[in-house]
């Protein structure tokens, strides 16, 4: 009898104490909890008061959106016309004006492939086929020469389509390559291990710019005469090789963080190396390292802007070219803000996806 009363008492519901009630309580707890925090709150509020209204006035109220450059010079605010008037050049660069539906279509295709890959139920071997097929189709459409499409030299591929192609395919190819390198580095076979260590350390020891230089200047020297490898392809390979080395090290961290017991349990079931890695170790290791992996992918995305150094016209470069037109000189703030916001959207999408994935895989 007594037992029952004890249990009843223990299970009686006790609500957590309420420490703050209403908006005032929230303000008090979060903004003015002590003198130092109160001071910080006031300082930040003052800063916002000085900056935000002025920015809104400049960017929206006094801004001109669709005018020519003359009107821009007279306006008191931002001149977004530099973007709107040159939008198609900034986005597609030297791609023939009347053919620019092709990069638009390619980007749509690229987006479709990315969205397809973001669903977990599509993570099969088929994914590799989808990516390879997507790449081939995009290449065909961009390059043309068949289906009655006029051929467009790769030198003319530029702007955002170049940036996204380089970064998305760079990242998509670097990730599996990096995982393989990480596994290789942990291999028990000395030859494979040494090869991977040398590769990773060598690549991580040089800046991306020098890799791009090598790809564009030195590499052709080693090729037999008459054989050339496309410049964009060379840059793409350099980006993939570079990113893979960094991913490999992050993934290796994940492999080492996975408890030994997991390896042993997998082995004691009789799983072979491939199944052990694929079913037990990699799913856990890759999940552990989602945050640093996303960081690497984000920086790889931004690093594609370094291809200007070998004369490719990516998004940043086409913006720069627009600004070197005497008519639009001096409006660099607006133009670069626009470019930056495109990069930001890309990075934000990636980091958001990473966060969502982490939550979904949490067990």
């Amino acid at each position: 009898m007594e037992d029952a009363s004890i249990t009843r008492q223990a299970t009686e519901e006790v609500r957590p104490p309420v420490t703050n009630i209403g908006a005032l309580g929230w303000v008090r707890q979060n903004l003015f909890s002590n003198p130092f925090n109160s001071l910080l709150t006031l300082l930040v509020a003052y800063g916002l008061y000085r900056i935000v209204p002025a920015f809104i006035k400049w960017a929206f109220i006094n801004a001109v959106w669709w005018s020519d450059s003359q009107a821009c010079n007279q306006a008191g605010g931002a001149c977004w016309s530099v973007v709107t008037r040159n939008l198609r050049f900034i986005l597609f660069g030297f791609y023939p004006y009347d053919q620019q539906w092709r990069p638009v279509f390619s980007l749509g295709l690229l987006a479709a492939v990315v969205v397809y890959s973001s669903f977990r139920r599509n993570w099969h071997k088929r994914l590799f086929i989808v990516w390879a097929g997507g790449l081939a189709l995009i290449g065909l459409i961009m390059h043309g020469g068949i289906f009655g499409l006029p051929s467009v030299e790769t030198e003319k591929w530029s702007g955002i389509s170049l940036t996204l192609l380089l970064s998305i395919f760079g990242v998509a190819a670097a990730y599996p390559f990096g995982v393989i390198l990480a596994l290789g580095r942990r291999s028990r076979l000395p030859a494979i291990k040494t090869l991977c260590v040398v590769y990773i350390e060598l690549i991580r020891g040089v800046p991306l710019i020098s890799m791009l230089f090598m790809a564009s200047v030195m590499f052709p020297l080693f090729l037999p005469e008459g054989i050339t490898v496309n410049k964009i392809l060379r840059a793409q390979v350099a980006i993939i090789m570079f990113t893979a080395a960094y991913i490999a090290e992050v993934v290796r961290g994940g492999l080492q963080a996975t408890p030994r017991g997991q390896y042993e349990a997998a082995e004691s079931l009789g799983l072979n190396y491939y199944l052990k890695m694929r079913l037990i170790i990699l799913p856990q290791a890759l999940k552990t390292v989602i945050p640093p992996t996303v960081s690497i992918l984000i920086s790889a995305f931004k690093d594609t802007s370094l291809v200007v150094i070998i004369g490719l016209f990516d998004l940043l470069r086409t913006t720069h070219v627009t600004l070197s037109n005497p008519e639009w000189m001096g409006f660099s703030t607006e133009a670069y803000l626009f470019t930056a916001s495109i990069y930001f959207v890309g990075c934000f999408v990636m980091s958001n996806f990473g966060r969502r994935l982490e939550k979904k895989l949490k067990t």
């Binding site: 004691s268 079931l269 009789g270 067990t363």
Partner: protein, 290 residues
Amino acid sequence: MFCHVKLRPPTRKEIKDLRGKEDHPREVAEKEKMTDQAPPTPDKVSTEPFIRIIELHKWFGEFHVLKGINLSVNKGERIVICGPSGSGKSTLIRCINRLEEHQRGRIIVDNIELTNDIKNIEKIRVEVGMVFQHFNLFPHLTILENLTLGPIWVRKLPRPEAEDLARYYLEKVHIAEQAKKYPGQLSGGQQQRVAIARSLCMKPKVMLFDEPTSSLDPEMVKEVLDVIIQLAKEGMTMLVVSHEMGFAKSVAHRVLFMDFGQVLEENTPQEFFSNPRHERSKLFLSQILR
């Protein structure tokens, strides 16, 4: 340090010879005595050795962990291994499915000799189930997926069949209602029972238990031991590293006491716990039985 002795697999005759050599009178007499005592239920101890360990040596770097272990385990036989920590008992049973590599001596499981040949190792691992001190369930898979993984990928069973098998064994360890949960949502005792079921799903011929109750809260020890005892009653061959005395008494045919990498005493559980022969085992028992 790498003194691998390359050995060809033994022929049937050699195995027979070895068997003949080890069955000296005292052991045979003892075996008969054990069957006389008829401890736990149906005893199907055959005289056919399932595991043979011959002059086994192992070093961790310079440290000599196992110093010439000889052991043969018959089908249906249940052996409890005890001893102080660092005595090499875990290492010994981990050698049997090659989670540890031995450097000298031979291990023959189900007529297959453990060598560096990965195919042989995998074959043996399929036949040898292992339960770990820390359960080692796969945290990213549900309980059901933990159980079906081996049957599907190693035994190549179709999924529905594997799931039926998994449900059968989950029922057996009294945990069927947790099939859809993840290991992290279960208590230690439940996790360990799942781990036992996971091994059983592979239909192993022998089970190795590496301190299966050492990391459990006292309340949960019994539920796990009950499952193992149940398994023993069904005639499973097993090697258990454990200090649970009552358990050893109720299931074991033999108790091995190990220290300093050697088997110091080999005895029936009744004899071992009431009347240990070796000085070291007396000391050990006096310490755990306070």
